[in-house]
C-alpha cells in the first residue's frame, strides 16, 4: 500500500513540474543539432528576403521606408490628394506603436537559442557561420531598438537603453539598461560576428556589412574616429559609383546591384509595388526638398528621383549601400575638427552626382536655408554652413531610402512642426521621435521605464 501511495505522490509531483520541463519555449522543442539551428536562421533570413512582417524591422522593407519618409519634411503632407493618398499616415505620432519592438525581440530570442545551445558544433565552419550570423542579427536588432525606442545618445535625455536579453531565458524580465550598456552590447555582437568571418552567402551578413553597421553605430553615438575608420574600411572595398551604373543601381527594386551591400525585401511582388508607388504619388515632394537641387547644377538625381509634378519616381530602398559610408566619414571628419578633409570628401561625393562640377570652398558653401527644419547638430550646436551642406547632400542622396530623413531629424535636434491631416492639425512633437515600449511589457514588468510622453494606455 505504502508503495502505491509513494508512486502516486511522486507522479503528482512530476505533473506539477511540467511548466519547467518545456519552458524553452513553452510547448515547443529546443533545436539540438546544427541542421536545426541552420533551419532557424534560414527561416529568419527568408523573412528578411521577403520583407515578412516579423523580420521587417531588422533590415527594413521598401514600404516602411517610404511610409515613414512620407511624414518627414521631404514630403508635403498638407497637399496629399484624397482618396488616393488616404492610405498614407499623416505625422510621426502615427508611427508611435510597439510592433517593431515585439518583432525585434522575437528575432533576438531566435539568435539567443542558437548562441546558447549550439554546443560542440561551434568550432566547425558551419557553426561559425551560424554563430556569426546570430551575433550579427542580434546586434542589428538591438541597434534598431536603440534608434527607435531610445532618445538619441548625444542628446541630454539619451541616457536610457533598452532591456538586454543575452541568453535564452523565457522567465527573464530585465529592466532597461543604460545607453552605454546597450551600445556596448551592440558593439560586442558586431565584433563577435566579424571574428566568425561569416562565409555562407545565404545568411546575408558578411564582415563588410557588419563593419558598415559598426560605422552606423559609432556615427549614431558620436564615436567619430571609430565611425570614420569603419566607414573608410567599407568604402575602400566598395567604392562609390556614378553615372549610368549609379542610376541602374538606384532603379533596381529587387536584388543587390552596384555597391548595395545588403537589403531587406530582396524579393517582392511587382503588382504590390506599383500600387504602393501610386499611393505615394498622391503626396507631393515638398518644395523644401526640390529647392535643394539648384537649377544651375546638372545633378543626375534630378533626372530620376522625381518628376515635374513633384511626385517621387525613385525606388524605395531599405538596406545599406556604401554611399552612406562616405557621409559617415565626412561628418566624422567634421566633428573630429578636420573641416578641410570634410569639405574635400563632400566635393568628391558631389562630383559623382553633378557634372560638370565646380568645387565648393569654405567661402562658396551655400548658406543655410530659412526653410531648413534641422537647425542644430547632434550636440545641440547651431549648424555651421559646412555641416549643413553635408547634411543636405545626405538628405538629397538618401531620399526614400531607409527613412533616412526621419533618423536624421531625430539625431539632429528632433524639430517640431505641424501638419494638416484629414482636415485637422497635428503636431510632430519632440517626444514622438522615440516610440513607446509595449503596454503589456510596462504592465507586466515592475521597474520597466516607459519613454516620456506615453502615459495613458488605450
Amino acid at each position: 500500500m505504502k508503495k502505491y501511495i509513494l508512486s502516486l505522490m511522486t507522479a503528482l509531483t512530476l505533473v506539477s513540474c511540467t511548466e519547467y520541463l518545456d519552458i524553452k519555449p513553452y510547448g515547443k522543442e529546443i533545436p539540438e543539432d546544427v541542421e536545426d539551428f541552420s533551419a532557424l536562421l534560414h527561416h529568419l533570413c527568408d523573412d528578411l528576403d521577403n520583407g515578412n512582417t516579423l523580420a521587417s524591422p531588422i533590415l527594413g522593407v521598401y514600404g516602411d521606408a517610404g511610409s515613414l519618409e512620407a511624414v518627414t519634411d521631404n514630403m508635403e503632407v498638407n497637399l496629399t490628394e484624397s482618396p488616393q493618398g488616404d492610405m498614407l499616415r499623416g505625422y510621426i505620432g502615427h508611427f508611435a506603436v510597439s510592433t517593431s519592438y515585439t518583432n525585434l525581440y522575437e528575432a533576438i530570442r531566435t539568435c539567443n537559442i542558437i548562441l546558447d545551445e549550439i554546443g560542440d558544433d561551434r568550432d566547425t565552419r558551419e557553426g561559425l557561420d551560424l554563430i556569426g550570423t546570430s551575433y550579427a542579427i542580434r546586434g542589428v536588432c538591438y541597434y534598431q531598438l536603440m534608434r527607435l525606442y531610445c532618445a538619441p545618445p548625444l542628446a541630454e535625455d539619451g541616457t536610457l537603453g533598452v532591456p538586454l536579453v543575452t541568453t535564452f531565458d523565457m522567465e527573464a524580465k530585465p529592466v532597461r539598461s543604460t545607453m552605454q550598456e546597450t551600445i556596448g552590447l551592440i558593439e560586442h555582437d558586431f565584433k563577435e560576428a566579424i571574428a566568425c568571418d561569416i562565409q555562407e552567402p545565404m545568411y546575408r551578413f558578411n564582415s563588410d556589412i557588419i563593419h558598415g553597421y559598426l560605422a552606423r553605430l559609432y556615427h549614431w553615438c558620436g564615436r567619430w574616429q571609430e565611425a570614420r575608420d569603419e566607414a573608410l574600411l567599407v568604402l575602400g572595398k566598395h567604392p562609390l559609383i556614378e553615372g549610368d551604373d549609379y542610376k541602374a543601381m538606384i532603379n533596381k527594386q529587387f536584388g543587390l546591384a552596384g555597391n548595395r551591400l545588403i537589403m531587406g525585401n530582396i524579393y517582392g511582388s511587382t503588382l504590390t509595388l506599383t500600387s504602393y508607388y501610386n499611393t505615394l504619388k498622391a503626396r507631393p515632394i515638398s518644395v523644401r526638398y526640390i529647392n535643394l537641387f539648384p537649377a544651375s547644377e546638372a545633378d543626375i538625381r534630378k533626372t530620376f528621383f522625381f518628376n515635374a509634378k513633384r511626385q517621387s519616381t525613385k525606388t524605395c530602398f531599405a538596406g545599406m549601400r556604401s554611399a552612406e559610408m562616405a557621409f559617415i566619414a565626412m561628418e566624422a571628419a567634421y566633428h573630429l575638427g578636420d573641416p578641410t578633409t570634410a569639405l574635400k570628401e563632400l566635393n568628391d561625393f558631389r562630383r559623382k552626382r553633378i557634372s560638370p562640377y565646380t568645387d565648393l570652398t569654405m567661402t562658396t558653401l551655400p548658406a543655410i536655408r530659412d526653410d531648413e527644419y534641422i537647425k542644430e547638430d547632434c550636440y545641440g550646436n547651431i549648424l555651421t554652413p559646412l555641416l549643413y551642406n553635408i547634411l543636405v547632400e545626405r538628405r538629397k542622396e538618401f531620399f526614400m531610402e531607409n527613412a533616412d530623413r526621419f533618423y536624421e531629424l531625430k539625431r539632429n535636434g528632433r524639430p517640431e512642426w505641424w501638419i494638416m491631416f484629414r482636415g485637422l492639425k497635428y503636431w510632430n512633437q519632440k517626444y514622438m521621435y522615440t516610440w513607446p515600449l509595449p503596454v503589456a511589457d510596462i504592465e507586466l514588468q515592475p521597474g520597466l521605464i516607459q519613454n516620456p510622453g506615453y502615459d495613458e494606455a488605450l
Partner: protein, 67 residues
C-alpha cells in the same frame, strides 16, 4: 501512511503554487482586449493663420507644377 502524507503534502502544495505563478502575471485587459497603444494628443482645428499657410503652399504648388 499518515506520516508519509503529511510529509508530502507541503511539498506538493509548494509545487502546485510555483507552477501556477504565471496566472498572476497576465496583463490587465480592458473592454476591447489587451491594451496595445498609447493615447496621442488630440488634433485641433485649423485656425485662419494655419489655413493661410496651406493656401500659400497650394498656390505655390499650382503655380509651379503642371496639372
Amino acid at each position: 501512511m499518515k506520516k508519509l502524507f503529511i510529509t508530502f503534502a507541503p511539498v506538493l502544495a509548494l509545487f502546485f503554487c510555483v507552477s501556477c505563478e504565471k496566472v498572476d502575471e497576465l496583463p490587465e485587459i480592458n473592454e476591447q482586449g489587451y491594451k496595445q497603444q498609447y493615447r496621442m494628443p488630440d488634433p485641433t482645428l485649423l485656425n485662419d493663420e494655419d489655413r493661410q499657410v496651406i493656401n500659400n503652399q497650394e498656390q505655390e504648388h499650382d503655380a509651379n507644377v503642371p496639372s
